[in-house]
């Protein structure tokens, strides 16, 4: 039995490790896309001071807003002179009218369609007093790429967990050289207690799930030496994986029993 448990721990650890690596690759890719969006702020242009502060305080209530910068006409003038080397035109610029700007930055990875709509609904109320500058085409392009990657990962995860369930079931069958119909028939006829068997299988499932998660987690540390981009899974992911592996094990136990019932 110990040989059996050890074999499954090794197999599941490898499968989980491969899954985590794949998750990391997708995550790095998505983060790279989102970093492009994070650097591009939404710029609100207006000459109405009080409205600007009012909007800013409304936006502050949204927990995904990272920071809001105000650029006053004087600062804007200095920036323009510096950027376009307009020192000689300084005198004319001093007398010219410049608007006030507000730059809105969103937290890393939070600029999705839902949050974008939330910002838009705040700004929409005052749209007659504002001019909004934002590269929406770029946002659309990057958002569609990240959404594609996310749905690709989710779909592949479903297929992955399905394959793992069947894999475990058939592996158990092959490993134990079992035809489950005959196993149950012989088990019950030999005086076996099905409840005790199920309990021992659940206990095994816990042990296998726990140790395979632990091993697959620690396998990331040697990998990190070669590639710092790879990070071990977070506690939330570990918990999901633990529940996933446990469910997979329990489903394979049910499949075994169902084959006889």
């Amino acid at each position: 039995m110990i040989k059996n448990i050890f074999f499954f721990i090794v197999m599941i650890s490898i499968a989980l490790f491969a899954y985590n690596i794949f998750y990391n690759v997708i995550d790095v890719k998505i983060n790279a896309y989102q970093k492009i969006l994070d650097k591009i702020p939404i710029i609100v242009v207006t000459d109405n001071d009080s409205l600007l502060y009012k909007v800013s305080s409304e936006l502050d209530t949204l927990n995904f807003i990272d920071k809001i910068y105000f650029i006053m006409p004087d600062t804007l003038r200095k920036n323009l002179i510096k950027k376009y080397k307009l020192e000689t035109a300084n005198r004319y610029l001093k007398n010219s009218y410049l608007p006030k700007l507000m730059k809105i930055y969103v937290k890393n990875g939070k600029f999705n369609s839902e949050n974008k709509t939330k910002i838009a609904s705040v700004l929409k109320k005052y749209k007659n007093h504002f001019t909004i500058k934002y590269n929406d085409e770029l946002w659309q392009e990057i958002n569609s790429k990240t959404e594609f990657l996310k749905s690709f990962f989710n779909n592949l995860s479903l297929v992955y967990w399905g394959i793992i369930t069947l894999f475990l079931f058939f592996l158990k069958t092959i490993f134990n050289k079992l035809n489950y119909f005959y196993f149950w028939k012989s088990f019950l006829k030999s005086g076996g207690n099905p409840n005790k068997w199920v309990f021992s299988q659940i206990l095994q499932a816990f042990i296998i799930s726990f140790f395979s998660i632990l091993i697959s987690y620690f396998l990331f540390y040697p990998i990190k030496i070669f590639s710092p981009y790879f990070t071990p899974p977070t506690l939330k992911i570990i918990l999901y994986e633990f529940i996933g592996i446990l469910c997979v094990n329990l489903i394979s136990i049910l499949l075994m029993k169902k084959n006889y019932d």
Binding site: K177, L178, N179, K185, S186, K189, S190, G191, N193, S200
Partner: protein
């Protein structure tokens, strides 16, 4: 301990077999002799709680503490109940979640006595019919239910193997009571009954 009180085995609406009072203590063995279609197998299946067309009472008694731990009955019949790809040892320990050293020693001794010692790790698919039945009986002695029910024991064993069966029973020091059915009389059983005119009578 088994206590049977006026048990009537029926097929459809017909009373096939009537049993008056039988009491079987722990470690006792009982033989029921009868012809084909006399209701021997249904009698065992009723006690095994797999056949329910019967009237009257039977009670399988054991102290409350032990009852929780022990299986009520194991039925050994014509069917092969071993897993072909498993060794003799693995088949014997199939229902045991833990096998203590003492149990291992007992299995080894019983297998040696049954002349299965040398083929201990042989797959059960390579055994003869009587050898598979011998393995099933050893397994029952190891599991030690309250009752071991053996249907048509005379079909499994010749005279030599029958002696081995009783030696195994002695060696295992089993607390299980044994009820066997047969078409012929086997003297070594503690209690012997015959089916006569659809009634179980003591011999």
């Amino acid at each position: 301990m088994l206590k049977i009180d006026n048990l009537i085995i029926r097929t459809g609406d017909y009373d096939l077999l009537t049993t008056q009072n039988i009491i079987l203590d722990k470690n006792e063995s009982m033989l029921l002799v009868g012809k084909n279609n006399s209701g021997k197998s249904l009698f065992l299946k009723s006690i095994h709680k797999k056949y329910f067309n019967h009237n009257g009472n039977f009670e399988i008694k054991v102290s409350t503490f032990l009852k929780k731990k022990r299986k009520e009955s194991i039925l050994i019949d014509y069917e092969n109940n071993l897993i072909g790809d498993y060794s003799i040892y693995k088949n014997i320990t199939l229902s045991l979640l833990k096998v203590s050293d003492k149990t291992k020693e007992l299995i080894s001794d019983l297998c040696s006595m049954a002349k299965l010692g040398e083929i201990y790790s042989t797959k059960s698919s390579e055994l003869s019919y009587s050898q598979t039945k011998m393995v099933e009986i050893i397994r029952a002695f190891v599991v030690e239910p309250i009752l071991i029910l053996i249907d048509d024991i005379d079909n499994f064993f010749d005279e030599i193997n029958m002696n081995t069966f009783f030696e195994l029973k002695k060696l295992s020091k089993t607390k299980s009571s044994i009820i066997a059915t047969s078409k012929i009389l086997i003297e070594k059983f503690d209690k012997k009954y015959r089916i006569q005119n659809e009634k179980v009578v003591i011999l």
